[in-house]
Amino acid sequence: MNAPLKSILEFKNVTMSFGGLKAVSDLSFAVGEKELVALIGPNGAGKTTVFNVMTGIYRPQSGNINFRNKSVLGLKAHQISGLGLGRTFQNIRLFKNLTVMQNVLIGAQPHFKYGFWEPLVLSSRFLETEANAKKYALELLGHFDLKQKQDELASSLPYGEQRKLEMVRSLIGMPRLICLDEPAAGMNHKETEDLMNLILKIKKDFDQAVFLIEHDMKLVMGISERIVVLDHGCCIEEGSPEKVRGSKAVIEAYLGADGGSL
């Protein structure tokens, strides 16, 4: 295994079961600083569960998860987020009745340091902080071609733009690792290609690690530095895109599951 030299995220023998079902089973892997790693596997392999245990939504029954050399077990989801772990959701979880701008600003938690009364008395610190946050939000929205939509309701955006908005909302908090759960789901060919370039741009501009769950093999093979393959909650292969593409275990898992092609 070519594990990264300095890892930002480490899973050590993590098991997460729901009743009798082991969604993640004795799983160990690592994501390096500034690395772009993809997590793939057939439907129901346990990929989303991996995200959910590391972001504090579920607590695994055994094993350990370290993020930036700190165990996240027992921490609340917002505390883990505060350590610099950002994510998006497979079934989009935007604040639907709020505007695009409000959505992004809620993601900017670490930027706001003013006191309770300051919004009422319009203190200069409050006004400046808000103005700067909005400016930064607009800049980010601009990267994702969403600038014009800042005042629209999140629910009114088309599907692809909702996915992008979720990414902006997470990015504005300046996470050290961003986890994207099937960002290309429901996107057409052209949109997927644009997304691929965006993810590469994010990684470069924000100098951060990316952990990506994705079904679109062209996207995964095109941008990943390393791939972890999951089946029935276990890691069945790990390595470079070339290695994974040629792996017998991977082909079997996919053919056995849904006849998918690599």
């Binding site: 609340k76 709020l98 809620i106 938690q109 997470s170």
Partner: protein
């Protein structure tokens, strides 16, 4: 300065117009001396405070509290009791300085806020409808405790505490708290805390994943909300100068919830107007009730709520919005 003015009101002067209008009515009524109109006006302002503050927790933060009357009762009784105590020790009598009522309102708000913290902390940690159950139980307990406490009159009621002599003061004092409550919430909505309230209502899991401490956020909303319910209780107590436990029954909470739902959950403007309707409707219906001998109030409320739910689920706020969004009118 004009720029800050615009910023403060968020370029929406409707609430300002409503408040100035009510203020003008009240100051006018202080000369007209019709005590019934005066009573209604103070009730209206108190109801507006209750509706705006309940809206913070039920509409804006998306939790469901059924205990607002309980927090109002805590404010009312603690304020009345404290004034009695102050009177006994300092002999303020009839000519109690007006400032004392502001201090009493603050103290009432603080005690209701503390109660809100103690009730909210355990119940808001849990997901689901625990808050509704706990707050409903809480407000009933408060009522039962009052009924069984002789020092504050028990079931007979509680009187003989300090009351301001001038209507003008009572009204202005209440209006001051309404303005404070309304604009505090309105300004908070444009800040990180306010957006966090909204994010909790919209999607707690997403909010947590972005670093929002949802439990803390909910407790904060709940404490602010209870604080103003306590203030409203204090205003009510010293204005009517006599308290009975029945005033703070579940029916009071229902009244306030009707204002919030009718106004459009989460809309501050809407619930101001709904407060007008809910305060004045029983009076408007009184002739009809005298004629027919039945209490039509609840019937009309239910009918109104059903119609609003079917025709305009966003309540009065939705109606206001549809005026704003008419083609041609920006």
């Amino acid at each position: 300065m004009p720029k800050k003015f615009k910023l403060f009101f968020n370029s929406n002067y409707f609430p300002l117009v409503v408040l100035v209008f009510i203020g003008a009515l009240g100051w006018g009524a202080s000369f007209a001396l019709d005590s019934f109109v005066q009573l209604l006006l103070v009730y209206l302002v108190i109801n507006m405070i209750l509706a705006s503050s309940l809206n913070l927790i039920n509409g804006i933060t998306g939790q469901f509290s059924l205990g607002h009357a309980g927090f109002m009762a805590i404010g009312a009784y603690s304020s009345a009791f404290l004034s009695l105590w102050l009177n006994r020790h300092f002999g303020l009598g009839e000519n109690a300085p007006s400032l004392i009522f502001i201090v009493l309102a603050l103290a009432a708000g603080a005690s209701a806020g503390l109660a809100g913290y103690l009730v909210g902390l355990p119940s808001l940690r849990l997901k689901g409808d625990y808050l509704a159950v706990v707050t409903l139980g809480f407000s009933e307990i408060i009522r039962v405790v009052i009924i069984n406490t002789n020092e504050i009159g028990g079931p007979r009621g509680f009187g003989g505490f300090l009351a301001p002599q001038s209507f003008l003061f009572s009204f202005t004092h209440a209006l001051f708290w309404l303005v404070f409550c309304y604009f505090l919430i309105q300004r908070l909505l444009k800040s990180n805390l306010g957006r966090s309230f909204l994010s909790v209502r919209e999607d707690e899991i997403a909010a947590e994943s972005l670093g929002v401490d949802t439990t803390k956020t909910k407790v904060r909303a709940f404490v602010i909300s209870s604080f103003f319910a306590g203030v409203a209780g204090s205003l009510f107590a010293h204005f009517v100068a006599y308290l009975t436990p029945q005033t703070f029954s579940f029916a009071k909470t229902v009244d306030i919830i009707i204002m919030v739902v009718l106004g459009g959950m989460g809309s501050l403007e809407g619930c101001l107007i709904a407060a007008v309707i809910v305060t004045l409707l029983p009076e408007a219906l009184r002739p009809l009730q005298d004629l027919t001998g039945v209490d039509l109030r609840m019937l009309i409320y239910s009918l109104m709520l059903i119609l609003v739910m079917i025709l305009r689920p966003q309540g009065i706020y939705g109606i206001l919005q549809s005026f704003k969004k008419r083609p041609g009118a920006k």
